[in-house]
Symmetry: C2
Subunit: 282 residues, 2 copies
């Protein structure tokens, strides 16, 4: 990664030199939004979906993105070419910018793009995940803000429980993981919560999958229902579909990966492969 | 302000050069805490109270402050001397530091101190404040985190209503303003909320004031009770006590500043003046 570049405002900068002045509203007030997409074989997967959400988040938080979509895509392309990393995660960050009074959003937000190598293999799939639950409702849940205070504050509990991630619920109503959406399978029905969550791109792709006799829909459910489900999985950009085998002290499906999870995972990977082949939107 | 310095980690840096690498967890994840104190005649007011809270916030968020109290006070003193600003606000910020994976807190958080001139006059007092209400509960409310997402997102409403600040309530239960605590006067009793709020230093000083026959206590109250109060005021480091004359469309005390507010304001200013004279804790 000697020659890795980070894009900051109008320039590609050597990654060691990518800095922001401390008056930026992310440092002063935790104010910013971001998005995170991945590349496979130098192609950014589902880029239009991620950019849709990026612009929607910016608008919701009163931030003016410095680039139109066509320009932004061109900059993403340049970043991929410069860094020459085939499989990667690319993070776009838009902050409140340099604020004179430390409170008012700048007319010119700061914009950054950071690219890092990403293992796009499916090795994690067979291992599955163990989640611990946390009673918490994210603020401004529909927007992909940079706010991960609760997740990072709670992380020591994930470590001490030898778990993999946190599952938020609001007084027993299941919401989401800090960086992933959750699904449960009951017979031939697949549910994912719809209230006060971030609508993940991978989540939306799974909702669009079609399997005979399988009904995949948005519907809220309780922690109790989730722990009694036939199968549970999460969706996340980095790992696609990943089975959940334990939630707190309760094993899901006796700790085994279910058939519906496997089928959906295969279909999702085909959809992603098709996006790479067709070079959709790029 | 040509020669203003900002302290970043181990150095006093010319303010234009004070930058953080974009891998800092404040930029990536909005993760950090801060505190804000003021100086009068080069003396930092109630410094031990502010540092108590600073260290408490750091501990609560699993951040290791790079300096012990004695060292930190010495650095505050050096900042005041270097910048030569008599009356000022000093902000101490401690972030999650540079994170390899963009999620794990660094063993070495980034620490900054920024000083800016502050008008310590009481001009704003006679004008009073108009507040607009917002149904919102701050996350991790007892900690002075850098999270002001909701306040900054909501600020355009303050402007469009020609108001001065936001008052948070949770389903009608009064909490606090984004950067201030709220008090109400009912006869000879003065109340300030105690549930899920940040305990301001100025708030604690007002709770310690003594006036004959006046009972100043922590006690939760509703928005309805607040709007029917005899007097309402906020406490905040920058302005001490400031009367609130309107909340949404409801005038408080027919839009007049009350006697109890005036008396407490005078007493608080005497307490601050005493701190300057005695050079307490510094």
């Amino acid at each position: 990664m000697e020659n890795k570049y980070i894009f900051v405002n109008d320039q590609f900068i050597h990654h060691t030199e990518a800095r922001l002045h401390v008056s930026d509203l992310s440092i002063q007030r935790g104010y910013g939004i971001f998005d995170f997409l991945k590349t496979i074989d130098f192609h950014p997967i589902f880029i239009d979906d991620y950019l849709d959400r990026f612009y929607r988040s910016a608008k919701e938080m009163n931030l003016a993105p410095p680039y139109e979509r066509t320009e932004l895509k061109s900059l993403v392309r340049q970043l991929i070419e410069k860094n020459n990393i085939a499989n990667s995660g690319i993070k776009l960050i838009l902050t409140g910018g340099f604020s004179e009074d430390g409170f008012t959003i700048s007319a010119k937000p700061n914009f950054m793009m950071v690219q890092n190598p990403l293992n796009i293999g499916n090795e994690g799939f067979e291992k599955g995940l163990k989640l611990i639950t946390n009673n918490f409702q994210r603020q401004v849940p529909s927007v992909k803000t940079i706010d991960y205070l609760q997740a990072i504050k709670t992380w020591p509990q994930v470590i001490s429980h030898h778990a993999d991630d946190i599952l938020y619920h609001k007084d027993g109503a299941v919401r989401e993981c800090p960086r992933a959406n959750i699904f449960m399978v009951k017979g031939r029905e697949v549910f994912t919560p719809q209230t006060d969550i971030l609508r993940g791109i991978t989540r939306s792709k799974v909702l669009s999958l079609e399997i005979a006799d399988l009904n995949i829909i948005e519907k809220d459910f309780s922690l109790e229902e989730l722990q009694a489900a036939d199968e549970v999985f999460v969706t996340v950009t980095t790992k696609n579909i990943c089975p959940v085998l334990q939630i707190d002290n309760k094993l899901i499906n006796d700790g085994n990966i279910g058939k519906v999870t496997r089928s959906l995972s295969t279909l999702l990977q085909q959809l992603i492969r098709k996006d790479v082949e067709l070079k959709n939107g790029f």
